[in-house]
Each structure stands twice: as C-alpha cells, then as structure tokens.
C-alpha cells in the first residue's frame, strides 16, 4: 500500500482553480520530484497536501487514512511535514528554539531529546550554531535548519518546496546529499523544484505539471536527455 496517495486532486484559491487533476503515489523510502514552469501550481499542490489550502475535490490519503481537508497542525501530527518555499525559519529565535518548535508536531514526545541529537548528527552545522540567532545563518544553513525542523517531528512523508532556492551550487549539492540520507532512513520525500535536471536525476520519479495537470512522468534516465526534458517541461513539439 502506498504511503501517500493523491487521486484526482483539485484545488485553488477561491474560484480560481490552479490544480485541476493531479494523481500520484509514493512508497516509504522513495522520492518524487515535481517540476513545471512558474505558476502551474507546484507550490499550491504541496500547500494543499499539507493542509494550508483547502482542496476542492479528489482524495489525499496518508498511510491509508484520508487527510483530505484536515488542518495543517493535525496533518503534521499524522506524519506529514512541509518545508515551505523561502524556508520560513523564525529568524528572531535561536537555532535551538527553532528545532524545539519542530517538536510540537511529534506524536511521541518521549524521544524528543534523542530526536534533537539525531538532527545534530545529520546536520552538524546546527550543533555548532545551536545558540545563534537563526536569522544570522547563511542561506544553506537556514535551509538545513528548515529541513531539520520539519524532520524532527519524524514525519513519514517530507514535502520540500524549492529547497535549492537562493543557494550556491556547492551548498545545493550538500543539501541534496542530506536529503539522500533522509530517504535512505525510510522517509518518503516529495520535492518541488525549478531545477528540472537536478530533481529528475535525484528523484525515483518526477512528474511534470502543466495547466494544473500531470503532463508527463520522467525517470532519472531522462535527466540527461535534454530534448525529452524540454519537451516535457515546456511542451515543445506538442
């Protein structure tokens, strides 16, 4: 049984329908990439799955249970966390306090201390800057903090919106290396990215969204095939 199952999802803002028919499923320890031109609804899709936007139709199941229309805080407690676009860390709070806030969504409060230790092992930079103001960290460090803050609640599914945004290439490689470790530990990951090559080569499967629908599905092999990627991404040759 799939861990996350999205079927015929329809969502938008008021009367404006942004997502008109999206379906995909995800197994534990697997990753799926979502790419597409600006404004096609990639972020809207993630926000809808995470409960920040109310869906209009379709179904969203997490571990066999419907989370359709649930509040974001309840969805987090059921095991699905979102790392939003632009990281949205609490810049006035310290690194330690940001991580502590991530513990709010944990189902098992007993293992909180161990969870913090695990995050320090996975992201050593957070341990070094534990008492520093989060807003003073570099972009890459903030991204690691945002991922750790979502991961500390030990979600079954982690959603990431543009994790490479504003980062230098070497830092991006580092962030994706950490994501590989997270997936290896059994967490299922959904990544929305503008860098189509990067995510297509990284994820087990990548779906291309256009006009609010799944346009095509790519495999890591397609990452090196520029023609195939362009055709899927921009609709060239349609």
């Amino acid at each position: 049984m799939a861990l996350l199952e999205i079927s015929n999802l329809v969502a938008g803002y008021g009367k404006v329908q942004v997502i008109s028919d999206v379906s995909f499923s995800l197994e534990p320890g697997k990753s799926i990439g979502i790419v597409g031109p600006n404004g096609v609804g990639k972020s809207t899709l993630l926000l809808t799955i995470a409960g920040a936007i109310s869906p209009n139709a379709g179904s969203i199941k997490l571990d066999g249970t419907s989370i359709f229309g649930m509040r974001p805080e309840d969805i987090v407690r059921r095991g699905l966390s979102l790392v939003p676009e632009g990281r949205q860390i609490f810049s006035g709070l310290s690194v330690k306090e940001n991580l502590s806030l991530g513990l709010t969504g944990r189902r098992d409060k007993k293992g909180s201390h161990e969870a913090v230790e695990r995050m320090h092992e996975l992201f050593p930079v957070l341990s070094t800057h534990e008492h520093h103001q989060a807003g003073m960290l570099s972009g890459g460090q903030q991204q690691q903090l945002a991922i750790a803050r979502a991961l500390i609640s030990e979600p079954k599914v982690l959603l990431l919106d543009e994790p490479s945004l504003g980062l230098a290439p070497t830092v991006i490689a580092d962030v994706f290396e950490r994501l590989r470790e997270i997936i290896h530990m059994g967490t299922a990951v959904v990544i929305v990215e503008q860098r189509a090559n990067l995510v297509t080569s990284f994820a087990d499967e990548t779906i291309v969204i256009r006009d609010g629908k799944v346009q095509s599905r790519l495999t890591p092999a397609d990452a090196t095939n520029t023609d195939s990627l362009n055709r899927s991404y921009f609709g060239a040759g349609d």
């Binding site: 995470a50 409960g51 920040a52 509040r71 974001p72 805080e73 987090v76 407690r77 966390s81 979102l82 939003p84 949205q88 860390i89 609490f90 810049s91 006035g92 709070l93 310290s94 330690k96 306090e97 502590s100 806030l101 991530g102 709010t104 969504g105 944990r106 800057h129 008492h131 520093h132 103001q133 989060a134 807003g135 003073m136 960290l137 803050r149 979502a150 609640s153």
Partner: protein, 342 residues
C-alpha cells in the same frame, strides 16, 4: 555570530526591571503626595501595559479590547468593596439590582476575584476573537471595547451607569501596588521564556509557517489572551483603588490609546520595552500636563495650550511607528550595558 533566543533565563532580564521600578517607586513616590499618587497611577498603567505585552507583543495581533477587561476588573473590585450604604442609597445607584447591594469583601480578595472574572471574560470572548488575525482582529476587539463600554455606561441595573460610584476604598500603601507589579513582571517574564511563549512568538514571526510545524495558533493565542485578561482585570482593580471612584469613562478610548502608546513606544516585543514605554510616556505626559496647567517645572514656566499633551503623545506614537517600529527597547530585554561590566 550573534547569540539569540528568547527562552534562556537571565537574572538581569528579570531582576533589572524589578529593581528599576522599585527604585523609581521608592525615590519618586516619597518626594511629594502628588508624585506619590502619580506613581500609583503609573503602576496601574504598567500592569495594563504588561497585560498588552503578553498578548499583543508576543502574538503581533493588535487588541483594542483590553480596556474591557480593565473595566470589568475595576467594576467588580469597586462594587465588591464600596460601602453597602453607598451602593444602596447613592443617587447614581438607585436603580441597582438589589442582589448586588449586599455583596462585600476586602480589597485584596476583591482584586483577586476581579482578575479571575476578567480572565474568564477574556477566555469567553477570546474563544471567538482568536480565530481572527490582522485588521479583522483589530476591528473585532475594538467592537468588544465598544460593546462592554456601552453596556456598563447605559445600564444602571448593574452599576452606576454614566455616573460615578464614590467612596471606593483606596490602597494608600504604594508598596502593595509595587509588589503586585513585581509579581506580574515575574509571571510575564516566565511566560515569555516558556515553550508556550516561544510558540506564540513563532506565530507572530510567521503565521503561515507555524501550523506547518503542528502549532495550533488558536490555542496558544487563547491562552495568552486569557492570561492577558487576568492582568488587565488586575490593572483595572488596582486603578479603582487608587482613584477611589469607579467611572466607566476611565477605561475607554483615552485609556486604551494611552496604554497602547506606552507599549508601542517602549517596544512591544519585550517586557523591558513595556516598562520603558510606561516610564517615558508617564513622565512626558506628566510634564506636558504641568505645562498645560502653567505650573513651574524646576522653577520655569512653559505654557502650552490645553490638549497639547494628547497631540504630542500621538505624534510620538506615529513617529515611533514610522522610524523605529520596534520601539525604544528594540525587542531586547534589560541588560547591563557592556561598559559597566567588568
């Protein structure tokens, strides 16, 4: 790299404000009878500004409704302590519901009851209001103030209506008010550095990101609003026992904007800001009042037209919003300047 955080306990963050307010009360309060009275009123305002800091400062949600809680606190404490014959026979009270007349207790129990009932009223109204944010929350809390004021102003069955309830016993010992203020500082400081306070601050910093971490914004705001209501009710109770009379008008627009100005000008994000704002605005306000009344300040007469005080404070309020929105304290708690440390 700068060290940060809001949940680390610091002796100077907590005891700095307590020592400063104690020293000011001691030195200013004993100068003259009029300055003692001003100090007492300032301590009441400070309690109200602390109440606002707990909710407005930490959540970032503007509330114009806290005057309601102060009004209720003042009303309950005044009604529970005013002499029974005054309540029963005073001209202003002759329509009073008779069941309220024999209710009587001592000042301190009355203060506690007034704060608890104000907190209950805050929890009740907050259960609806805390679903709102931004402009909607501001307007709805303003409506709460308007409704509460009009209910008490126009209803002589429950109180003196538009007139005053006289002969409310006063707290003549300033140090009792100081003790209450110091206790409130401890409570507010411990709340601000608690995990609940940190969660509330997170909702202020980013109301979109907080729910994505499993934070229930409604719940944390409601808890803070209730605590804030308790302190505002206590502030109203203290005020009525300094003024010696209960008047509904004392807790309406002027009271609301004065205490909000104190918080914003001092810096809403910290307890230190709340204290600085109260001291600065109270001092400036008093000096301007003396100038309006053409009284000498250190032997110098500098007359200004009546009403200038309100205008000058309003201008200061706007100036702070424009050029230093984080207030005088700039979001920081009290700390000893580094050049004084060894």
């Amino acid at each position: 790299m700068r060290h940060g955080g809001v949940t680390k306990f610091s002796f100077q963050n907590l005891f700095g404000p307590i020592i400063i307010i104690s020293a000011l009360t001691f030195f200013v309060g004993r100068t003259s009878a009029s300055l003692q009275l001003i100090t007492q009123f300032t301590l009441c305002y400070f309690m109200m500004v602390l109440a606002l800091q707990v909710f407005v400062g930490n959540s970032g949600v503007l509330s114009f409704g806290h005057g309601s809680f102060a009004l209720i606190g003042s009303y309950i404490s005044g009604m529970l302590t005013a002499p029974i014959n005054i309540k029963g026979h005073a001209l202003a009270m002759n329509q009073l519901w008779q069941a309220l007349v024999p209710l009587h207790t001592n000042i301190y129990l009355a203060l506690l009851i007034s704060a608890i009932i104000s907190a209950f009223f805050a929890a009740l109204t907050g259960s609806l209001l805390m679903r709102l944010s931004g402009l909607s929350a501001g307007i709805a809390t303003f409506a709460l103030l308007g409704v509460t004021y009009n209910v008490f102003f126009n209803n002589k069955r429950i109180g003196p209506g538009s007139q005053a309830l006289p002969a409310v016993p006063t707290i003549s010992n300033t140090y009792i008010l100081l003790l209450l203020a110091a206790l409130a500082i401890v409570v507010v400081y411990l709340f601000n550095i608690s995990s609940l306070g940190r969660t509330l601050i997170a909702t202020r910093e980013d109301a979109m990101a907080a729910p994505a971490l499993g934070i229930n914004i409604y719940r944390v705001r409601l808890i803070a609003f209730t605590l804030s209501g308790f302190l505002a009710g206590l502030s109203g109770g203290m005020y009525v026992h300094v003024a010696g009379t209960f008047q509904v008008q004392d807790y309406y627009l002027e009271f609301t904007f004065l205490t909000l100005s104190m918080l914003i000008i001092g810096g809403s994000a910290s307890l230190w800001g709340a204290l600085l704002g109260t001291i600065v605005i109270s001092t400036i306000g008093q000096l301007l009042l003396m100038m309006e009344q053409d009284l000498p300040i250190f032997g110098i007469h500098a007359h200004i037209p009546e009403g200038s005080r309100a205008v000058i404070i309003a201008v200061a309020f706007v100036a702070v919003l424009l050029w230093r929105s984080s207030g005088i304290a700039n979001g920081k708690e009290f700390s000893i300047p580094t050049f004084w440390r060894k």
